[in-house]
């Protein structure tokens, strides 16, 4: 049996959450947990370990960048790869995301295959 990968999809839009989840299901034995904002994501992260996190930026309660900075500062979560998926396509936003520690920055509308190859690339990078 292949290794099980756990993914956390943090996105306030149900449409995008479903699209990302739908794409990740192409990875065999993938376990996908959904969170609607940064606060919800931190709660889910305290409950179980994730191999990779996919997060939006613009979300209520806690945005994706705040969540990312918390993840990178916490030694327990710091090594988890994070992919930002957002409508913010300006270079300055991308730089900000990457400087905060995002492993990849994808802009909406996403190509599901591009997201999938980035996920696979990051997972092999992590050696998981």
């Amino acid at each position: 049996m292949s290794q099980q990968y756990s993914f956390l999809v943090v996105e306030d839009s149900p449409t995008m959450r479903q699209l990302v989840t739908f794409s990740l299901k192409r990875i065999s034995n993938a376990k996908i947990v959904e969170a609607t904002d940064g606060v919800d994501a931190l709660k889910k992260m305290s409950e179980e370990k994730f191999h990779l996190i996919i997060a939006d930026i613009n979300m209520p309660l806690m945005d994706g960048l705040k969540l990312l900075s918390i993840i990178r500062k916490d030694p327990v979560y710091a090594s988890i790869p994070v992919i930002i998926v957002t409508t913010e396509g300006a270079e300055v936003d991308k730089d900000k995301g990457l400087k905060l520690g995002a492993n990849a920055y994808l802009t909406k509308p996403i190509q599901t295959n591009a997201l999938l190859s980035k996920v696979k690339e990051l997972l092999s990078m992590e050696g998981t």
């Binding site: 839009s13 149900p14 449409t15 995008m16 739908f22 409508t87 396509g89 509308p109 599901t112 295959n113």
Partner: protein, 279 residues
Amino acid sequence: MENEKESEILKKAEDFLKVFKKGEEFTHDLLVTNEKLRYRAIQLEDEVNSLKRTANMPADIAKMEQTIHQLEQEKKNLLNKFKNVEEENKDFASRYVEVEEENNNLANLYVASYQLHSTLDYQEVIRIVLEVLLNLVGADRCAILLKEEGTSDMVVVASEGMQTFNFKKVKLGDGIIGKAGQTGESHFVTDLKNFSSDDPLFPIVCIPLKIKEHILGVISVFALLEQKKEKLTRIDYELFSMLAGHAATAIFSSKLYSQSERKLSTVQGFINLLSGREE
């Protein structure tokens, strides 16, 4: 006398010794020459043998040439096969890209369609239409306009990024939006690179929300996200086409559902009143 005889004999003996020595030298020379000749004879014998072997070479060369020819033919065949496999590989690669693109399109269409029909709540349906426009199409500014009952207007029921515009309603037949709402024909600006408009009456995209020939309203897109400004893709047109039908059905169904819910509650109220029951 005797001395003379003796010296004559000695002289003869010396002459004889000289002749003998010469004979010895000659014999020695003969032996050396003989040795050289024997060595030369062996050399010649070897050469003859070697020449005899060389005499079979043409056959060997012919055989080798044939082998070379066969190998060259095999090489040519292999190169042809390699070329064919490479072409097949390229074909597979391009087909893989096409399949992946198609997969992406289908995923987008599936999700949009699934979300639109996942609820009967009118406000939620409207929110989902906006979500599809923002997240799947990449619209930066857009609006949903629906026909107002009893008037010839279409009113804005939801919008995104339009706060700065005083955009509330459009008369049927007026401008691009009004015409789309009246005729049911879609409008697309194809040359996005040279298109720039902040006027809400000049959208990039305007698609009618239709159930068969019945037009409910329109979806208008006024600006696309920075990363989408180059052009609309095939999936965008497919999403627009899907939205034209599915969003219309979802909006219509949710409206009917909320109306029937209201009516049901009114009827229930009457029944309760007539039967003397309290709610």
